[in-house]
Amino acid sequence: MAVLQTPAGERAARGLDQTPGRPGRRSRKTPYQGSARGFIAPGVFLVAVLLYLPLLWTTFLSFTEYNGLGDPAWVGFDNYVEMFGDPAFVGALMNTLLWVAGTLVIPVGVGLALALLTWNLPGGIWLRLPFLIPYAISGIGVGVIWSFILSANGALDQALAVFGVTDPPRWLVDAPLNTVVMIFASSWQGVGVNALLFTIGLQSIPKEPLEAARVDGATGIRLFGSILWPMLRPLTAVVVGLSIVASLKTFDIVLSMTKGGPGRASETLALTMYRETFVNSDYGLGSAIAVFLSVVTLIASVLYLRQQLSQKHEM
C-alpha cells in the first residue's frame, strides 16, 4: 500500500508514465500492475458474484418456466406475454405509478417546505427533529404502526367516533384509498430525511448571491424561484432521483399493511414479483417482472438524470 502512495507509484498505477507517440509501450506491464490486479480481484469477484451473476441468472430465468425444483425449461417470451396480458399486473403498475407521484409530491414537497420554513429560524433544528425520528424505524415497523391506526376500529376510527363520525372510510380496504393512505404513512417516515437533505443544501448556498438578491428587493416566493430553487437543483436532482427509485420498488410497507389486498387492489410491482416468485413458485414470471421493474427503474433514472444534467449545463 505504501508503495502506491509514492508519486512514482501513483503515476505508474494511473499509466502516466506511458509516453504519447510510443504506442508500443502501452501494452507493456508496469511494475505494479500485477499486484494491483491482485488487490482489486476480491472486489471484482464480489461484484461479479453478488451483482452481475444474479442479474444474468434472473434474466435467464425470465425466459424459462421454473418452480424452484428440477431444471428451468426454456419458454422464450411467454412470461413477458403473460405478464403484460394480466390485468392484475396492469393494476400493480398503476399503483406503482401512484406511489411514484405520491412520494414525489408529499415527502419531497413537504420536506422542501419544512426545510425552507425552518432553515433560517433560530432553533429550527428542534422543529425538524421530530420529523426525523420515524426515519429510524424500518418500513415494516412503519406498516405495523399505521395498521393499528388505520385498521377497522383502529385508533383513527376511534378518534373520529369521538367527533361523531360513526361510518368512517374503510382506509385499508377500499382502493385506491388504501394506496393513498399507505403513501401518507410512508411520507410520515420520509419527510424528515428529505427536510434534512434540503436544509443541508440551503446551508451550502453561498451568502453573496442571497444577500445581493435581498438588496435588490427579492423576498419570499421571488427569492425562492430566482435564487434558492436554481441553486438547490443539484441536490433536488439527487433527492427526487432517490425518491423515484425508492417508490418504484415499494414493497415492505404494503406487505405489512395490506399484503397487496384486498384481492390484488393495492399490489405494487415489487409485491407482484414477490407473489409470483415465492408464493406461486413461478420463478420465471417473477423474474420477468423483476427484469421489467429493473428496466423501468433504469430508464426513469437515466432520463431524469440526463434531463437534470442538461439543465445544469444550460445554466
Partner: protein
C-alpha cells in the same frame, strides 16, 4: 520488491476468497451433528426445519420423550414466513444441507417434491402404522402417489365451528344440528346486535366457500379440485349467492379488522368462527377455557339430503429429504413419531387432535371431536387449501378476500379464479 508486492496481493486475494468460500459453505451452522461419516446413524441430533416457528417450544418439549424412546433429539429451526421457508427448503435440495426432517404441505405441493424424487419414501412406515392401527387408510391416501407413500403426518386438523359459549347462553341459542338451525342462530344473533360469523380478507378467506360447496354437493367440491367443475358453473354461482345473501344480512365481521381472531371471539366481536381444530391453542392462549368459555361443533351440511355430514380435514406432513445426510435418522424419527407414545406426548405438548386413534388426547372436547368425525354420520374431505392447485389457490384466496371486503356480484370474482384455473388445467394436458 516486485515479487513481495505480488505475493502480498496474492495473499490478500487468496485470504478474501477463502473467507468468502468458508462463509458460503458454512451457512448451516455447526449443529448438523450427524452428517458425514455418520450418514447411516439412527440415533443422535436431527436437524429439523419448520414454518411453524411458534410451535418450536412444543417440539423442544418433545425432545425428552424422543430421547428416552429412540435416542433422537430435534434441533429445531423455525421460520415464521411461509414463503421464505418454502424457498429455503426448495433451495436446500440443491445443497449438501438438505434437511433430515422438515414440515411441508400435502396436495399439490407434496406432489411437486415427489415428482422430482426429492423426498424419501415412507411406504414401510405406513404399512406398519396401518397394521398397528396407528393411522387410518383415508389419511394414508393423502400421502400416496403412484401407490407409494411419502412423508408422515405431522398433525391433523378438522375444520369446525368454534363459538363463544357465553354469547350462545345469553341469547338462548343451542348448538345447531341442521343448516336451518344455524341460519336461525345467525339471524337471532344479528337481531341481538351480535355479529354471527368471523371473516377476513387475507389468507383464511376460503373456509366459508369450502363449507358451502362441500355441504351442498361433495362431488361438486371434488370437481373443482380436478378441473371438471368450473368456478363459473351455475351451481357454484348459486352457492356464492347464498354467501352474498348472508353478507348482505350483515352476518360477517369486518373483513378489514386486524384484531386477533381468538381475541375477537373472546371479546364478542363475533359469536362464531370457522377454523381448524388447532385453533384451541390460540383460544387457550387468549385466556379462554376449552368447554367453559368456548365450544365447537361440526358445521351442518347445507344440503339436508346428504347421507353424511362432510367435514374438512387438513394434514401437514413431516418429510425427509431423499438426498439428506440424515435420511436414516429422519426416517427413524418419523417411525417413532407415528407411534401412540409419540402422539400422546405431542398432544400433551401442543394440544391438538391426534391422527393416531390409539393416542391419548388431553383436551376432552378435542377427544370428543375425534370420535364424532370418525363415526359413520360424517365424511372427511380434503381442505380447500390442499385440494386446490397452488396457482389457482393463490388467486382464489385473493378473490374470496376481495369478496369479503366488498361483497357484490360474485361473477367477476369467480371469473378471475376460473381464468387462472383454465390456464393451469391447460398446462396439465
Amino acid at each position: 520488491m516486485k515479487s513481495r508486492n505480488i505475493a502480498a496481493a496474492g495473499i490478500a486475494a487468496f485470504t478474501t476468497a477463502a473467507l468468502l468460500l468458508t462463509g458460503c459453505s458454512g451457512g448451516g451452522g455447526g449443529n448438523s451433528g450427524d452428517n458425514g461419516d455418520k450418514a447411516a446413524a439412527t440415533t443422535g441430533t436431527l436437524d429439523f426445519y419448520t414454518d411453524k416457528a411458534a410451535w418450536e417450544p412444543d417440539f423442544d418439549e418433545l425432545n425428552a420423550t424422543s430421547k428416552d424412546a429412540v435416542d433422537i433429539s430435534l434441533n429445531t429451526t423455525g421460520y415464521s414466513d411461509a414463503a421464505q421457508y418454502d424457498a429455503f427448503i426448495k433451495q436446500s435440495f440443491r445443497t449438501q444441507k438438505s434437511p433430515g426432517l422438515f414440515t411441508w404441505h400435502t396436495g399439490d405441493s407434496l406432489k411437486q417434491l415427489v415428482d422430482e424424487n426429492l423426498v424419501a419414501e415412507t411406504t414401510d412406515l405406513w404399512s406398519k402404522a396401518i397394521d398397528e392401527g396407528w393411522a387410518t387408510e383415508d389419511l394414508r391416501d393423502e400421502y400416496t402417489f403412484d401407490g407409494k407413500q411419502y412423508c408422515v403426518p405431522m398433525n391433523i386438523a378438522y375444520w369446525v365451528m368454534y363459538y363463544n359459549k357465553n354469547i350462545f347462553q345469553e341469547q338462548g341459542i343451542d348448538v345447531p344440528t341442521t343448516w336451518k338451525e344455524l341460519d336461525a342462530a345467525a339471524a337471532k344473533l344479528k337481531d341481538a346486535g351480535v355479529t354471527p360469523y368471523y371473516q377476513t380478507s387475507i389468507l383464511f378467506t376460503f373456509q366459508w366457500f369450502q363449507q358451502l360447496v362441500a355441504g351442498t354437493d361433495p362431488e361438486l367440491y371434488k370437481g373443482l379440485s380436478t378441473g371438471e367443475v368450473k368456478y363459473t358453473d351455475p351451481e357454484i354461482v348459486d352457492i356464492m349467492n347464498i354467501w352474498l345473501d348472508e353478507q348482505k344480512k350483515g352476518w360477517f365481521s369486518d373483513a378489514g379488522s386486524t384484531t386477533d381472531p381468538a381475541v375477537g371471539l373472546k371479546q364478542g366481536d363475533f359469536a362464531m368462527i370457522n377454523f381448524g381444530s388447532f385453533f384451541n391453542g390460540s383460544l387457550d392462549g387468549a385466556g379462554m377455557v376449552s368447554g367453559e368459555d368456548y365450544g365447537m361443533f361440526v358445521i351442518p351440511a347445507v344440503n339436508a339430503d346428504l347421507d353424511t355430514t362432510p367435514v374438512a380435514v387438513e394434514s401437514g406432513p413431516l418429510c425427509v429429504a431423499e438426498n439428506s445426510k440424515q435420511k436414516d435418522l429422519g426416517l427413524a424419527y418419523s417411525e417413532w413419531w407415528m407411534s401412540p407414545d409419540a402422539q400422546t406426548a405431542w398432544n400433551a405438548a401442543r394440544g391438538d387432535v391426534a391422527f393416531n386413534p390409539k393416542a391419548t388426547v388431553k383436551d376432552p372436547m378435542l377427544a370428543e371431536l375425534g370420535k364424532t368425525v370418525a363415526d359413520d354420520k360424517h365424511t372427511l374431505f380434503t381442505r380447500y387449501f390442499e385440494a386446490t392447485p397452488t396457482p389457482i389457490l393463490t388467486v382464489a384466496l385473493e378473490q374470496f378476500g376481495a369478496f369479503n371486503a366488498n361483497p357484490g356480484d360474485p361473477m367477476p370474482f369467480l371469473e378471475a379464479i376460473q381464468a387462472e384455473a383454465d390456464k393451469y388445467w391447460a398446462e396439465q394436458k
